[in-house]
């Protein structure tokens, strides 16, 4: 009775793997998959040796090898070398308590380019399109929502989104690569009262820029205004005291959802926020700036993406060369901008 058996053969001319030699391409065929080392069905009759020419079904069960492509999803800190090793880039940490608008802002960076050129910039690519798509989904008609919403960030670890852009008048110049961090608002909330949690945010020391969002909707409500301001102060103070922020930190404090506040004459943001924050923190930081933004707007007087052009312009135009010269003079710097080593 004839039986068929499967036997492995190598179809690459000159390869000695089946003769006891080594693979021509140096592949360990026991542990790794070689595209030339394949199964073939052979007959095994009682009168005929399996290595004779009686191949009954000469089809090849050659398994196609899958070639992995980049995932398109958010990157972990260890994965950002995918971009950092290849391109000059800027790492921007976006932090703030839950509901302050971090995810909405991140989504807006991508969705703006889906409508056309944004400010003076054009979209040149992203390794994390799916990460952006997930964050923007609840603002789409397909989500079934009647008003734009944003799902909150749940991750307690930093994750990163990548955006590559070019100025519309500099198409032949290399693209600018931005890496935006995302982390849950609960982590930021809890870190202001916990040394362990604050010290776990040491990734912030590797950021080129930090954007701290204060929820404009809370500022617009008298019952939550003072607490929102004091919470922000406490976080910054704790970050300075735990050496997470230092005299190299470039911090921008942004009042988000400005569309809730722009008509409120009772709120003077410079008196309530800029002046006291400067007085208290400016000397401890490398640079302290303030801005107002509205990634989405329900106020007809405030356009969507209000203030976001200025953010991009600021991050892209900042000249680190002077700071890098100073850094070279320092023998032991714990901060490496473009390799993103986390200090011990």
């Amino acid at each position: 009775m004839e039986q068929t058996i499967k036997k492995k053969i190598c179809d690459q001319p000159g390869c000695k793997i089946l003769e006891g030699g080594s693979c021509l391409e140096g592949i360990d065929v026991v542990t790794a998959e070689c595209p030339h080392f394949i199964h073939r069905e052979l007959s095994n009759s009682t009168t005929e040796a399996p290595n004779s020419t009686s191949i009954t079904k000469p089809f090849v069960l050659k398994k196609k090898t899958a070639v992995q492509l980049f995932t398109g999803r958010e990157l972990s800190f260890n994965q950002i070398s995918l971009i950092a090793d290849c391109y000059d880039n800027r790492l921007i940490a976006i932090i703030g308590e839950s509901g302050s608008g971090k995810t909405t802002l991140l989504a807006e960076f991508f969705t703006s380019f889906q409508r056309g050129a944004f400010c003076t910039y054009l979209f040149a690519g992203s390794y994390t399109q799916i990460g952006f798509e997930e964050r923007a989904f609840h603002a789409t008609l397909a989500s079934g929502n009647l008003k734009p919403k944003t799902e909150r960030t749940k991750s307690k670890e930093f994750s990163f989104l990548h955006l590559s852009i070019k100025r519309d008048d500099q198409l032949s110049a290399p693209a600018s690569h931005l890496l935006f961090s995302d982390i849950s608002g609960e982590t930021i909330r809890d870190a202001k009262t916990s040394t362990i949690l604050m010290r776990s945010l040491k990734t912030l020391k590797s950021a080129d820029f930090i954007l701290f969002l204060i929820d404009g909707e809370k500022l617009a409500n008298l019952s939550t205004r003072s607490l929102a301001i004091e919470d922000a102060k406490m976080f910054i103070q704790k970050a300075i005291d735990e050496n997470i922020f230092d005299n190299k930190t470039i911090l921008k404090v942004a009042i988000s959802k400005w569309d809730f506040l722009s008509d409120d004459s009772s709120f003077d943001w410079q008196t309530k926020i800029e002046h006291p924050f400067r007085q208290r923190f400016e000397k401890a930081l490398g640079l302290l700036e303030f801005t107002r933004i509205a990634a989405r707007s329900e106020n007809p007087k405030i356009p969507a993406a209000y203030g976001i052009c200025d953010l991009l312009n600021g991050w892209l135009s900042y000249d680190f060369s002077e700071e890098l010269l100073l850094k070279e003079e320092v023998q032991k710097s714990s901060r490496v901008f473009h390799n993103y080593t986390i200090p011990a």
Partner: protein, 302 residues
């Protein structure tokens, strides 16, 4: 490392993007007796042409061409020459239905055979259906309240009809307030950018890949958009347009408006049937129209 074979051209595009009708019209052109042909058949050897002949027959009779009678993963290819200089071209069509490209976006991998094609191609024909509602995401912020409610109603109705047609499957959940993102909600412009990024990532080649972007059904679009095909791309699929012009070191692109049918089969069938077949296809380059469906391929070989 795979060396570049300057004669291989890949057809790509999402489902229903116009590839099949273009291929039918092209196969007819190549096999026609037209004297001024720019592309001629080199060989029928080692090829299975039943499918190509079937869609050619349908195209010649002004019937909608079939997309679904190929085995999954089967590649159609054409071995042709440029008439003027004899340059040999292999046109690779790895997936007629367009599902392959959707799958690449979803599962984030492709097989080594396809990877070999990707590494060896010189040109890409990228097809876009301008009437596909999925070309671009609709963001709520871009609609006023009345529009939001109307569009939501239309979408709900379409979903209900679709579910009625697919009662056996019944896998699709009705859209709920807390629907989760999945790849089906991603627009074509995002997916096409991803296809190009995959190509860029896998091809370790310094020469830019030439890309003919083909806006199909141009005769329908022409009524509302009399400008250049490039302007349609810039306005309707801006993310893809920006990506192409920002990555000219990787992709050299030109946009063509193509009507491979030559017109509307319902309204103009008799008129189309009365024409010589090579007179039917229309290609718009810039502001100029020509009756030569090979132009997007010829441009790739220049």
């Amino acid at each position: 490392m795979t060396s570049i074979d300057h004669s291989r051209i890949l057809f790509a595009g999402m489902h229903d993007s116009g590839k099949t009708t273009f291929i039918a019209a092209l196969w007819d052109y190549i096999n026609s007796d037209r004297l001024d042909k720019k592309l001629v058949l080199k060989s029928l050897a080692n090829s299975e042409n039943q499918y190509l002949e079937k869609i050619r027959a349908e195209w010649l009779q002004c019937e909608h061409v079939s997309r679904t009678n190929l085995n999954e993963g089967e590649t159609v290819s054409m071995n042709i020459d440029r008439a003027d200089n004899g340059q040999n071209l292999i046109l690779e069509i790895p997936d007629i239905s367009g599902e392959l490209f959707n799958t690449h976006f979803q599962v984030r991998e492709w097989d080594d055979e396809y990877n070999d094609i990707v590494k060896s191609i010189h040109g890409l024909l990228l097809f876009i259906n301008p009437q596909d509602k999925k070309n671009r995401t609709i963001y709520l912020a871009d609609l006023n309240e009345v529009e939001r409610e109307l569009k939501a109603e239309v979408m709900a109705k379409e979903d209900a009809e679709e579910e009625e047609c697919n009662k056996e499957e019944m896998t699709k959940e009705p859209i709920l307030e807390f629907a989760q993102w999945s790849e089906e909600y991603t627009s074509n412009q995002v997916k096409l950018v991803e296809i190009l990024q995959f190509l860029k990532d896998q091809r370790s080649v310094s020469l830019p890949l030439q890309v003919s972007v083909i806006i199909s059904r141009w005769d329908v679009i022409e009524k509302s958009m009399s400008g250049k095909p490039e302007e349609w791309l810039k306005e309707k699929m801006p993310l893809l347009y920006q990506y192409l012009i920002c990555n000219q070191d990787s992709f050299l692109s030109k946009v063509f408006g193509v009507s491979a049918q030559g017109g509307n089969y319902k309204k103009d069938k008799n008129n189309l049937l009365s024409l010589d077949s090579h007179e039917r296809p229309k290609v718009k380059m810039g502001l100029e129209f020509i009756n030569d469906i090979t132009e997007p391929i010829i441009w790739l070989t220049q």
